[in-house]
């Protein structure tokens, strides 16, 4: 009898210990470690919250760092360098003895090294800011309880329950599949597979004329692939200003892109080492076919919340699967906020970052803000394309009278000395007040330069305000100044 009482006591103690060990409490739990999630977690910790972040990928950084922005920029930069060396070294006075070629293995390794360094960097930031990082799949048990099932590579093998007052959902997005086309990530690839091709395809077909498709097309076009873009709409670059989109298409065509616009892809089938694609004209129905070595399906991304068990707490989405939130990022529960690609707004990493900060500030101060009229977009082709604020089409639709100021990089001394002068800066200003309404740049360093436009927009600057600021010479930013000068007066150097 003594022995059985002791056994029962030991068993109960083990149960209590197990329960005690498997429950942790945090003030804020962030689900998802991408640009939105990790920034929200760090900000929440900086604001004094005991914060946890749960990520199931095994590495922080989300789509952006692992299979999106960062790896693609590595490929774009290095392929651009390769093309520059091959095509313009001689005219720059650099003679190269021997052949210049791409080592695909090292090309991929350079990309992988950048990704690894940055994802480790975020883990360091978590340690620095005392954010508890759980490698696991998070799912709702109830409004205040998150279950975490560890992934294989997690050090902690035990399932956990996180008790929390506040949750931020930042589960991001995934590739939108094309109905009827089977992606194998070898010959028929998504953007993820396109970043890791084992060889440079002779022929690359891309379904989708948006930023992802055009950027990946740029990489492989520079490395020698024949790139064909199949786009349903009559123009590329859906959210671009019309003139900018046309100019972009022209320079990409000069680089060897073949555009098939207004075409609907009917089928795509892999036959061993080739892909046979059938498409038809949207207007006439005329059918054509195309064969490529690799087909990239880049028709967009969609919100992702698989495994979250959102149904357990009755979370709601709209008809496109985006979590429905209000202006404070609240879902139907005020203690559960949602940010980033999984909810409304452009699917951009920097938008998610801004929302991450705002969501943490809303929890702490009752106030946070994101200016959705001032979110820049950048396409990292060469020349780069960047824009912020209104397009001409939007201003016309809203019946706003406007003036245009344009300045070409061919008249910019820095661009000329760099032998990189394709493109221009276009500024749109209110016709009466001359307040800057939109800025559109095609040219070298457009992605960096657009930040000045963003600042001007945020401050409510007029074109004259910008034009009267001294810009260093010789710099590419002088083109931005001159475009503003052209908007309200006349440029000096053109």
């Amino acid at each position: 009898m003594f022995r059985s009482t002791t056994s029962k006591y030991s068993s109960n103690l083990i149960q209590i210990q197990k329960q005690f060990l498997s429950t942790k409490t945090h003030d804020v739990v962030v689900i998802g470690g991408g640009p939105g999630g990790y920034v929200a977690a760090i900000k929440a910790a900086q604001l004094g919250y005991n914060t946890a972040c749960v990520e199931k990928r095994g590495r922080l950084g989300g789509t952006c760092l692992n299979v999106g922005c960062i790896p693609s920029k590595s490929l774009l930069n290095n392929s651009h360098l390769y093309q520059e060396i091959k095509e313009s070294a001689a005219k720059r006075g650099i003679d190269i003895k021997g052949d210049v070629s791409v080592n695909v293995q090292n090309f991929q390794k350079a990309k992988d090294d950048s990704v690894k360094q940055l994802t480790s960097g975020i883990e360091m930031l978590f340690k620095k800011n005392k954010v508890t990082y759980y490698k696991g799949t998070a799912s709702f048990k109830d409004q205040n309880t998150i279950k975490v099932v560890p992934i294989e590579s997690a050090a902690e093998k035990e399932e956990l329950e996180l008790k929390t007052e506040k949750v931020i959902i930042a589960t991001g997005s995934e590739v939108t599949p094309f109905p009827g086309i089977e992606i194998d990530e070898e010959r028929i690839v998504s953007s993820t597979g396109a970043l890791s091709l084992k060889e440079i395809p002779k022929r690359l077909a891309i379904i989708g004329g948006g930023i992802i498709g055009l950027e990946m097309g740029s990489v492989y076009s520079r490395l020698g692939s024949k790139v064909t873009i199949l786009e349903f709409a009559p123009a590329i670059g859906a959210s671009m200003d019309g003139e900018i989109a046309k100019t972009t298409q022209k320079f990409l065509k000069k680089q060897g892109f073949d555009f098939k616009l207004g075409q609907k892809v009917v089928s795509a089938k892999r036959n061993n080492d080739v892909v046979d694609i059938e498409y038809e004209d949207v207007k006439t129905g005329k059918k054509e076919s195309l064969q490529s070595d690799v087909l990239l399906v880049a028709i967009g991304r969609r919100p992702y919340m698989q495994g979250l068990n959102a149904e357990a707490i009755g979370l709601e989405v709209d008809k496109r699967g985006r979590v429905v939130i209000d202006d404070q990022f609240n879902t139907k529960y005020p203690n559960i906020k949602c940010i980033g690609d999984v909810t409304f707004g452009p699917m951009l990493a920097h938008k998610a970052e801004e929302e991450g900060i705002a969501a943490a500030e809303f929890f702490k101060n009752g106030h946070g803000h994101v200016n959705y009229n001032n979110i820049p977009s950048v396409m990292y082709s060469h020349p780069e394309v960047a824009w912020v604020g209104k397009t001409e089409e939007q201003l016309k639709a809203e019946n706003i009278e406007y003036k245009i100021g344009k300045f070409p990089f061919i008249a910019n001394s820095r661009a000329k000395t760099n032998m990189d002068s394709e493109g221009f800066v276009k500024i749109l200003i209110d016709a009466k007040t001359e307040r800057i309404l939109g800025a559109h740049i095609i040219g070298p360093n457009a992605g960096e330069m657009i930040a000045e436009a963003g600042l001007a927009l945020e401050y409510g600057a007029s074109a004259e305000d910008v034009a009267r600021v001294c810009h260093a010479h010789p710099t590419l930013s002088e083109a931005f100044k001159e475009a503003n000068l052209a908007a309200f007066s006349k440029p000096i150097n053109f």
Binding site: N272, E311, E316, D318, D327, T343, Y372
Partner: protein
């Protein structure tokens, strides 16, 4: 400045950045729910336009990566060519030698006259 332009500019976003001097006091949030600025048609959480997440996910075709099955692996090509011998009994309409075909299907041997004509180049 026309009225319409000034109204449009007034509705534009007011900077919340901190200029030199006192930090701006943030306006209190109204008691009512306000739609997210990027929400389509001003949809609000808990409104009738919302769809339960579980219901949406059950109808969603998941993103999948399919392992490619090569068609050449299934044909089991022999070194002799694309035809593969399969040992099986004859079907009712099959024979295993041309000599067993009905006479009207067999090749007829050519006679000596035809041989001489061919050898003579068509001239007899």
């Amino acid at each position: 400045m026309t009225t319409s332009t000034s109204i449009k500019l007034a509705k534009a976003y007011s900077p919340m950045i901190k200029f030199l001097g006192a930090h701006p006091t943030f306006p209190p949030h109204p008691d009512t729910l306000v739609p997210h600025p990027m929400a389509a048609n001003g949809i609000l959480p808990g409104s009738s336009e919302c769809i339960p997440a579980g219901e949406f996910l059950t109808k969603l075709r998941p993103f999948q990566v399919f392992k490619y099955q090569s068609t050449t692996q299934n044909s089991k090509q022999s070194s002799a060519g694309k035809y593969v011998f399969k040992n099986r009994p004859l079907e009712s309409n099959e024979v295993d030698s041309v000599t067993k075909l009905p006479s009207w299907l067999r090749y007829k041997p050519i006679d000596q006259n035809e041989i001489d004509t061919i050898n003579g180049g068509g001239v007899i």
